[in-house]
């Protein structure tokens, strides 16, 4: 008898047996359902976070360095406070010095940020994120314009009072009129709008990238605030040039900030890789916590299945005797009960998968989770495996039964 045929026959038998004990099977399956829901949700969360992170990171570019006062990777609030206290600000002057002295860069962009109230005539928008930068910003971040143009190099060098606004600022302040050429206010300063950015959406559903106003960095420093934190984005010619560029930046920065030779850096050279690394650590933690919880519920569920299968084997001792008497070999009986256990678990797995699918819709607004074929097959594979493993001992007992004793059983 072929394996496939044997399993097919066993599926019919198993289905009959499960139908005959619907309530009992359903109750036993609860543990497995919970386990599969956790496995699936964990998988979806990890995968969703991964996708969101990578797509957001891709915008940063792999061959770009970010020179700042504070590193991206901070393990605690205390650590952050310590950096704030002990490190000098990376200011407008230093940023420009650095930009001027670097020789290995393909491009670089200055950036600073602050929150100010923006107004147009009598309309006052809420506070917006005002970014002081240079003309290169358009290239290095890849923003697109819906209307008008970006800041020009001459405007940036001269610190002209001009701005490019995000789509949310545009729709908040300008009703039924084009913002281009209009004079609006940032804090108490008048600036002329030269361009409007295309809608960019939000970062992981949290804060809007469209509530922005871009002005020349020089204007930002001279008109808005003097003591603002800067960062310098430096693009290497290629990823291979990155280590040399990093060395050069480090050397120049130590001179600019007068760091004694024996002291460690009092600034940070950030890059995408460090975020990826710490993200990797976070997902490992989520993964192992999820693995522990789902492993525990699957273990409990599996013990329940084993128990119910022992009961099923005991109840059907006579049936096993009859089957053996008319020619069922050990393997056939073994497969029959393994299939039964696996079928209960598979049904539980499908229910769990359905529940997780429903939950993923509820979560979709806050987390970028979705059910992928990979996760669905993982859940199905896990549930079948739990069934086969926990059904093995009872099935083995059934397979080894002596037919005479089994037939004598009342």
């Amino acid at each position: 008898m072929g394996w496939l045929l044997e399993i097919k026959e066993s599926c019919f038998i198993a289905w009959e047996a499960i139908r005959a004990n619907r309530l009992r099977s359903a109750l036993t399956a609860l543990g497995i359902i919970v386990g599969i829901v956790t496995v699936t949700l964990m998988g979806m969360t990890l995968e969703g976070l991964n996708v969101a992170f990578r797509s957001n990171l891709a915008k940063l570019g792999a061959e770009t360095l970010y020179v700042q006062r504070i590193p991206w990777e901070i393990r605690s609030y205390q650590e952050w406070l310590r950096y704030r206290r002990t490190r000098r600000e990376f200011d407008w002057f230093q940023a420009r010095q650095l930009e001027r002295r670097i020789t290995n860069a393909a491009a670089s962009t200055l950036m600073t940020e602050g929150r100010f109230t923006v107004t147009y005539r009598d309309r006052s928008g809420s506070r917006a994120s005002v970014i002081g930068t240079t003309a290169d910003y358009e290239l290095t971040t890849g923003v697109e314009l819906a209307e008008g143009r970006f800041l020009l190099a001459q405007e940036c060098d001269g610190g002209r009072p001009v701005c490019v606004i995000g789509s949310l600022v545009a729709s908040n302040l300008f009703l039924n009129e084009s913002p281009i050429g209009k004079r609006m206010r940032v804090a108490s300063e008048s600036v002329d709008v030269v361009g409007v950015l295309s809608k960019r959406g939000s970062f992981m559903g949290q804060f809007s990238l469209d509530n922005q106003v871009l002005v020349p960095a020089k204007f930002f420093v001279e008109a808005l605030t003097r003591d603002s934190e800067f960062s310098l984005q430096i693009k290497a010619r290629s990823a291979a040039h990155l280590p040399a560029l990093e060395e050069e930046v480090r050397a120049v920065m130590r001179i600019l900030r007068r760091v004694p030779p024996s002291a460690e850096d009092d600034f940070a050279i950030n890059q995408q890789q460090s975020i990826l690394d710490s993200f990797g650590r976070v997902s490992t933690i989520i993964g192992s916590v999820g693995f522990f919880i789902s492993g525990l519920s699957l273990l409990v569920g599996g013990i329940g299945i084993m128990n119910i299968m022992f009961v099923s084997v005991a109840e059907r001792t006579r049936e096993i005797g009859v089957r053996k008497a008319i020619g069922a070999k050990r393997r056939v009986i073994l497969i029959q009960f393994l299939t039964e256990a696996a079928t209960i678990c598979l049904a539980a797995g499908l229910v769990g998968l359905g529940i997780a699918w429903g939950v993923s819709f509820a979560l979709a607004s806050t987390l970028p989770v979705s059910m992928s074929p990979g996760i669905a097959s993982l859940a199905i594979g896990v549930s079948i495996a739990v069934g086969v493993i926990s059904g093995f001992l009872p099935a083995w007992r059934a397979a080894r039964m002596n037919p005479v004793d089994a037939l004598r059983n009342e």
């Binding site: 089957r323 008497a325 020619g327 069922a328 070999k329 050990r330 056939v332 005479v404 037939l407």
Partner: protein, 245 residues
């Protein structure tokens, strides 16, 4: 060569520290086509002998050859295969699978022998018709009378065309009229060339067969040709030879 050849077959059970000799040094030969009864009081070892002849159990000592194969030296799975191919069981309590229809019950031995689905369905329908249940094939056991259940069990025993039909008290759970119907079905099977072995404690039942082996305390007490079986149309005349134990 006889179909069944048994030499010095013994079966001992260990109960606590005590050895129970359920069967002691039994020797016998059964030819193909015989219709015989194994008789004896309760506890004499009839079922033990039937389990050995039916390859459900292995002897403690002795030799058993069935259709030329040395059954006494086989392992579990080989015995299962022999049972499937050579033996059809009919039990006192029918032993049908309660959740399966008559047809599914009869098909089951063919499932285990690996016959393709269409062929085995056809064969099962054929045998059910032969035992007079053509109209009841889709019924489950609890929708059938006792006599009908035993007919399903007989169809299940016949479906693989086994060398031997082994029936342990097949009328024990039936009223006498239904019992008679079942007995005439066995007679008919015998006439058609099947080897039929009945285990019973009722003289009335044993009277239908053409050879009666009586056992007592695990020994063969007598082995006789039945001189006056009730007349069956076209019955064979060459019955098995009486054997000296």
């Amino acid at each position: 060569m006889p179909l069944i050849s048994v030499e010095n077959l013994s079966r001992r059970y260990l109960m606590g520290g005590e050895t129970i000799h359920a069967l002691r040094d039994v020797s016998l030969a059964i030819e193909s086509g015989e219709y015989l009864a194994i008789m004896g009081p309760s506890g004499s070892g009839k079922s033990t002998l039937m389990n050995l002849l039916g390859c459900l159990d292995s002897p403690s000592s002795g030799r058993y050859e069935l259709n030329g194969s040395r059954v006494s030296e086989m392992d579990d799975d080989q015995l299962a295969e022999i049972r499937n191919r050579e033996i059809g069981f009919v039990f006192q309590t029918f032993n049908l699978l309660p959740r399966s229809t008559a047809l599914q019950n009869v098909e089951l031995p063919l499932v285990y022998s690996g016959m393709p689905a269409v062929a085995r369905r056809q064969r099962a329908i054929e045998v059910l018709a032969q035992v007079g249940l053509a109209e009841r094939m889709q019924h489950k056991p609890n929708e059938l009378s006792g006599g009908q259940r035993q007919r399903v069990a007989i169809a299940r025993a016949l479906v693989t065309r086994p060398s031997i039909i082994l029936a342990d008290e097949p009328t024990g759970n039936l009223d006498s009229r239904t019992g008679d119907e079942i007995m005439s079905l066995f007679a008919e099977l015998s006439v058609n060339g099947n080897t039929v072995i009945l285990v019973t404690h009722e003289e009335e039942i044993a009277r239908h067969t053409r050879r009666i082996i009586r056992i007592r305390d695990g020994l063969i007490a007598s082995d006789q040709t039945n001189i006056s079986p009730p007349p069956t149309p076209g019955a064979h005349t060459d019955t098995g030879q009486p054997m000296v134990p």
